[in-house]
């Protein structure tokens, strides 16, 4: 298998990269770690005339604690995220999920930005960003703008970014003290794309009731599924015991509309959505109660 021929550029600055995107638009693809793009090229699912390699934009590789939480530069490798104690402390949901992204060999090169902009609906990081309420900072010819994760993922491999925009960073808000997190997924073999996964955050008030919840699922739709509005009614203000969580999980099962594919029929995915939701919520609530892994 071989990609179509393309022109290759390796800009030295963000400005140069953005100028190249402005010049070539839809005909250009951004290459970072290449762990999602190169398979698309090898299969000729993508046939760009220009590839813009942003590997030299090392100013986009950083993990930076902020007043609101954590900012991670788009070019930061998944392996660096996996090893970061800042991520482990300030964003434990991401820390837990990142080990499920591909394999060690792909995490060494794959970037956090690449996984987000590739927007594979089965991928972990888009769901995690959605559950957290992350914001994505992008740069185009007219300057920067910030897109909420809830507005970012539009459909299968499609985002709200224009062809002339470059992802600069993702901003991950810290959740308050008393929050527990949990990421779970079901896949046939470790490192495979999940059939279904769930990322959950549960914040408990002093009386043990749910003060806030974040939930997103991967593998149940053409884009990561925002479960927060679905489960909020069942959870907010309630003590998250088994029955309450089962009710929330049932509401997810009723809300998702997965497609059948070669990996799993729709009914099975819907069932898994319920099971993964229940496990993720129970895991997050348990950690919130015990204070373990909370923020």
């Amino acid at each position: 298998m071989r990609s179509v021929s393309f022109e290759y550029a390796r800009p030295a600055t963000v400005d140069e990269a953005v100028a190249l995107l402005a010049e070539h638009g839809d005909d250009a693809k951004i290459l970072a770690g290449g762990q999602s793009l190169v398979p698309l090229l090898n299969f000729r699912m993508a046939q760009p005339s220009h590839v813009v390699d942003i590997a030299a934009l090392t100013s986009l590789a950083y993990i930076r604690p902020t007043a609101e939480g954590l900012e991670i530069g788009a070019l930061t490798s998944q392996r660096a995220v996996e090893l970061s104690t800042d991520v482990e402390r300030r964003c434990p949901l991401l820390h837990e999920a990142i080990a499920h992204v591909g394999h060690r060999q792909t995490r060494n090169r794959g970037t956090i930005g690449g996984s987000l902009v590739h927007a594979d609906p089965a991928a972990e990081l888009p769901a995690v960003s959605l559950a957290l309420g992350a914001e994505l900072r992008v740069r185009g010819p007219d300057g920067e703008r910030v897109i909420a994760a809830s507005d970012f993922f539009k459909g299968y491999l499609a985002t709200a970014m224009g062809a002339n925009e470059l992802l600069l960073s993702v901003q991950l808000p810290s959740w308050p003290q008393g929050t527990g997190h949990c990421f779970v997924e079901f896949c046939r073999r470790q490192g495979d794309f999940a059939i279904v996964g769930a990322a959950a955050l549960v914040s408990l008030a002093a009386d043990g009731t749910v003060a806030n919840v974040g939930l997103a699922l991967n593998g149940v739709a053409g884009r990561p599924f925002d479960g927060t509005p679905v489960v909020s009614a069942a959870l907010l203000g309630k003590v998250p015991g088994d029955a309450v969580i089962a009710q929330a999980a049932a509401s997810i099962e009723a809300a998702v509309e997965p497609d059948s594919d070669v990996h799993a029929p729709a009914d099975y995915r819907r069932h898994l959505a319920k099971v993964m939701t229940a496990r993720a919520l129970a895991g997050a609530a348990g950690r919130a109660r015990s204070g373990e892994g909370g923020l």
Binding site: S5, L31, V38, D53, Q105, N108, R189
Partner: protein, 158 residues
């Protein structure tokens, strides 16, 4: 036709300068331009792991990189694992424990195991299975490969 790019990189301690078209995969470059056919090519989309090499000391799928991206880097392939004519202790352990049958997955297995064992002492069998999860074997079965990795942990003084 896209233009070519001149790249210089070090593979197994030897410096090479070549002109490559941008779409030349690093796996193709290593095998066909450099003649180092120890790096195998299976799925060509990053799943099977047999093309695993070391780039700047970290494992990577050679089929998921273009040669032009490797300009200026230092690479180790399976040919660079042992010094001289002897076997690397990991290779010796695979030999002793029959950690291969057809050998197709072996080069990638060896590089992945090298990275794993360079960071881990006395691993459990479960840790070994996780470490080789990104490398598919379709004939020997994993039992003897896991034994070989555990043996390599004993043999390799590091």
């Amino acid at each position: 036709m896209a233009s070519t790019h001149r790249i210089t990189l070090t593979v197994n301690g030897t410096s090479y300068t070549r002109d490559v078209p941008p779409r030349r995969l690093l796996s193709e470059f290593i095998r066909e331009d450099l003649g180092l056919t120890g790096t195998h090519v299976g799925c060509e989309h990053g799943v099977c792991g047999t093309c695993t090499i070391e780039v700047e000391g970290a494992t990577a799928r050679a089929c998921l990189m273009f040669a032009v991206q490797a300009d200026g880097t230092s690479i180790t392939t399976v040919e660079g694992l042992a010094c001289g004519d002897g076997l690397h202790p990991i290779q010796e352990a695979f030999h002793q424990e029959h950690g291969l049958q057809c050998g197709f997955c072996t080069p990638g297995m060896l590089l992945s195991v090298k990275e794993f064992l360079s960071e881990t002492r006395n691993p459990t069998a479960d840790e070994v299975r996780h470490a080789i999860a990104g490398n598919l074997c379709r004939c020997t079965g994993y039992q003897s490969i896991v034994k070989a990795v555990l043996k390599a942990d004993e043999l390799w003084e590091r």
